[in-house]
């Protein structure tokens, strides 16, 4: 029951501390509780790929709290909270 209430709720903003692959700096990236992990990877990459890191033709993977996350999970499902650190890497 409580799950369906959460699902029905408006997505909440989740600002995260993110680092992309070999980039030189951690950045602020706003994601939402409803974003999938694959979408999180793209939102982080948007600020870095082709700006400071060569774009690679490879899938991206997100790490959070030492865990590699399933790209189909949502931010809420994965337990990513505001101010958490996420790392995005190319899966090569």
């Amino acid at each position: 029951m409580s799950e369906s209430v959460t699902d029905a709720a408006e997505p909440q903003l989740v600002p995260v501390n993110a680092i992309f692959h070999t980039d030189f700096v951690q950045i602020l990236v706003p994601v939402t509780t409803a974003d999938t992990i694959a979408e999180v990877a793209e939102k982080v990459a948007y600020h870095v790929e082709g700006r400071r890191v060569h774009k690679q033709d490879a899938p991206k993977v997100v790490f959070h709290g030492g865990r590699r996350l399933d790209p189909r999970l949502t931010v809420a499902d994965a337990g990513i909270g505001p101010l958490d650190h996420v790392r995005v890497e190319y899966d090569v």
Binding site: F24, I27, R52
Partner: protein, 508 residues
């Protein structure tokens, strides 16, 4: 009447003190300002400065310095020396004027605090001279910077910068408030005169002076050299204070000196590092920032702490490794987030620059070369938009500088790693282990939210790049940009392929 020689009377007056009969000592020297701590009050009676000076001598010497400094300035004002300076070097001076002028004023307050609450009368006398020194430094820096306001509005930040919410201003205020305003005078004497002035100002005022002369900026070299001649005298307040503190409370002495060194090292990596290794034209660089640090700071700092029986700080390995990375990453950050600063940062990554950087820092290409290549390709493709920020860099909760320090992992990869902690349900991020450790020990005395904290709290509106720049006080005529982007042209024939990453961070 025959006048007595100084040595015949000074010992009688240099430490004349009051004997209180209507109030007790704690009322005159309260602990939160005077900070004797575990040191018995009587122990401060032995405090003695090495180099003694009387007021007439002080005035006479200072008058000569002032006359000389302003005479050189007046002579150069009639020349076209300013127009001959490179944009890179001008950036070094803008950064210096804005970053230093009001820190000198803050030092006036610090010296006055020691002149009032210092625990020995000779110390209070020295601090009174120190306050006069710092008034001179604030004035001369402001006056020299002011001359150029009519030619370039970025020099207006000489006076304005410290009053803004620019992230650099917040970072410097946070550091210097903790060194001079929020602490007691014992900690102040060890943090400011001993650690900062004896060590780090040499780098800015002596070593950078050499770069100024090489770059043709006699005026700037003249100003900072004149300032530096005062430092040696008032900086000596630190030695006798540390000597007494070490004897009675070595743990406190070690902690205070360690964190002042760390904070100074972070600030200098942000300001002096880029000025020396990037903004000074490559043909004029005397030594690398790392070489200057080794010669002017590290040897002397280690000698000083060993002389007093203290140990190397716990962060020493992290600090030494950072000499090869901190300022390079901060330079890249200053360039990429250039609209947030009040100077025009040269990228300084021409082929000649990179050859010099690689020679001085053998890992430079492995850690930074690929990122500059991406930026270069974007510039050459006419896509300057891709080289401008659309979000904020994450700022360290202690030093307020971007979290941008790559380290070499056991897997052979250079990565920027997470240094965070959660306290009372809030997660804080730090650029290094050193900043995290100092924050943890000092957390109850810190209250300085970063720009990220302020942004997420909704204090910055609208919540976009324009809102952020406005919050920082940047106006279009002042906000930084690359001077011309023409430096990238020599890379037009570069083959833009993705380099293969191999172990150790090298590229194939």
């Amino acid at each position: 009447m025959t006048l007595l020689k100084r040595e015949e009377w000074q010992h009688l007056v240099r430490d004349v003190d009051w004997t209180y009969s209507y109030v007790d000592d704690e009322a005159v020297y309260p602990e939160w300002l005077s900070g004797t701590g575990k040191v018995p009050r009587a122990a401060w009676r032995t405090w003695e400065e090495d180099y003694k000076v009387s007021y007439p001598e002080y005035v006479s010497t200072q008058r000569e310095k002032e006359t000389a400094a302003y005479a050189v300035k007046a002579a150069l004002q009639r020349s076209n020396a300013f127009d001959e300076l490179s944009e890179g070097w001008k950036s070094s001076t803008k950064m210096h004027y804005g970053g230093v002028a009001l820190v000198e004023f803050e030092a006036v307050l610090g010296e006055l605090k020691m002149a009032r609450f210092g625990l020995n009368p000779a110390w209070r006398n020295m601090a009174a001279f120190g306050a006069l020194d710092e008034i001179r430094h604030a004035q001369i820096t402001m006056f020299f910077g002011h001359e150029f306001v009519g030619r370039d509005p970025q020099y207006d930040w000489t006076q304005k910068m410290f009053h803004t919410n620019d992230w650099v201003a917040i970072s410097l205020r946070s550091l210097f408030d903790s060194m001079m305003v929020t602490n007691n005078v014992v900690d102040l004497a060890i943090q400011l005169p001993l650690t900062f002035e004896t060590g780090f100002t040499n780098l800015q005022f002596v070593a950078l002076s050499a770069d100024a002369l090489e770059s043709g900026d006699v005026n700037f070299a003249n100003m900072i050299s004149s300032i530096q001649t005062d430092e040696a005298r008032h900086a000596q307040q630190g030695g006798p204070t540390l000597e007494i503190l070490v004897e009675h409370d070595p743990v406190r002495a070690q902690w205070v000196i360690d964190k002042a060194f760390w904070g100074s090292a972070r600030a200098f990596a942000a300001l002096t590092g880029p000025a020396m290794d990037y903004y000074t034209p490559v043909e004029h660089r005397k030594q690398s920032y790392r070489e200057f640090m080794e010669e002017w700071i590290i040897d002397q700092f280690i000698r000083t702490i060993e002389d007093y029986g203290l140990r190397r700080p716990w962060f020493w390995d992290e600090f030494m490794k950072g000499l090869d990375t901190w300022h390079h990453a901060l330079h890249m950050g200053l360039w990429f987030w250039r609209p947030t600063i009040w100077w025009r940062p040269t990228a300084a990554v021409t082929k000649a620059d990179r050859e010099w950087l690689q020679e001085k820092y053998p890992n430079w290409e492995a850690v930074y070369g690929d990122k500059w290549d991406v930026i270069i390709d974007a510039v050459n493709a006419g896509n300057v938009e891709a080289t401008l920020p659309e979000t904020l860099p994450w700022l360290c909760s202690l030093c307020h500088l971007p979290c941008c320090n790559a380290t070499l992992g056991r897997d052979g990869r250079w990565r920027v790693r997470d240094h965070s902690l959660t306290h009372n349900g809030v997660t804080y991020h730090f650029c290094t282990n050193g900043c995290r450790q100092i924050w943890w020990k000092d957390k109850d005395t810190l209250n300085s939210p970063t720009v990220i904290d302020r942004f997420l709290a909704g204090e910055i509106q609208p919540m976009d790049v324009g809102g952020i720049l406005n919050y920082m006080g940047l106006t279009p005529d002042v906000m930084g940009d690359d001077p011309d982007y023409a430096w990238a042209a020599e890379y037009r024939d570069r083959v833009t392929t993705t380099p293969l990453q191999v172990a150790g961070g090298a590229q194939a």
